[in-house]
Symmetry: C2
Subunit: 152 residues, 2 copies
């Protein structure tokens, strides 16, 4: 099993970062505008990604397994690209003065395939989008996300 890990600091209270990760409305502000469903353990969140011209580029479903206010968010992927099924996304939050630190993980990939390298780069750009969204109110969720290579 192999993991993608990233770390980012956001100049905002921890509760504001937690809200952006723990609610469908929050996730729609930085990952993909098409985020729907119930964000609670046992619930399902569905996300759809599109190219700027509206073509569907991918869709996935995850269960928010753990929602510990202002501490930790843990998602498990139920459907989507074959490589993602059964993988976990975790966000661990901590206070750092007047900023919030986020340690991100996309964990339990079966192999370090080239698609994982693409996703690692893409997650980094979405974490920059999360930072912008929380700090300024405006992120770059799909379909306005930064395109990084021929896979999107």
């Amino acid at each position: 099993m192999v993991d993608i890990i990233h770390r980012i600091g956001i100049k905002a209270p921890i509760s504001k970062v937690y809200a952006a990760l723990s609610t469908a409305e929050g996730v729609a502000g930085w990952w993909t505008k098409e985020t729907t469903g119930e964000s609670k353990p046992g619930g399902t969140i569905k996300v759809i990604f599109r190219s700027p011209n509206g073509d569907e580029k991918g869709k996935m479903e995850f269960e928010p397994l753990k929602l510990n206010p202002n501490q930790e968010v843990h998602w498990r992927f139920k459907s989507g690209p074959a490589e993602w099924i059964g993988t976990d996304v975790t966000f661990k939050l901590s206070q750092d003065g007047d900023a919030t630190l986020v340690v991100f993980g996309h964990r339990n990939w079966r192999e370090a395939v080239e698609f994982m390298a693409h996703c690692s780069m893409k997650w980094a750009t979405f974490l920059l989008s999360l930072k912008e969204f929380v700090e300024t109110g405006r992120g770059k969720p799909s379909p306005d996300d930064l395109k990084i290579d021929n896979w999107n």
Copy 2:
């Protein structure tokens, strides 16, 4: 041993991307302006990173172990942060129509420590800087690099 991996596409000929990775002048255009030394197997490249006010934030030395024109660049770190010594950075290049794909690796970390998560995020921003540098002639090398958290 654990690895950071990323993938990015650059709209430029492969020879231009290779030049940005295989020469000290090239590396100075996207990683840190203070890049000096001999870029050849057996040689040493020294890089120094500073904050915008000029304080030294870090320095490292690596040997360019492999320089395969338009295919692969491989660095081995000889000095720098303890976690980096003995680790390898690899860039594998391939043509994709009129673009160049780069598969990046920072390989052989002893443990997936939080500093590795910081470096993964930071490498992603430097790869965006490489893309900008090659595509437009202007990257964001240190000390003009994007600051991502409390570690820089």
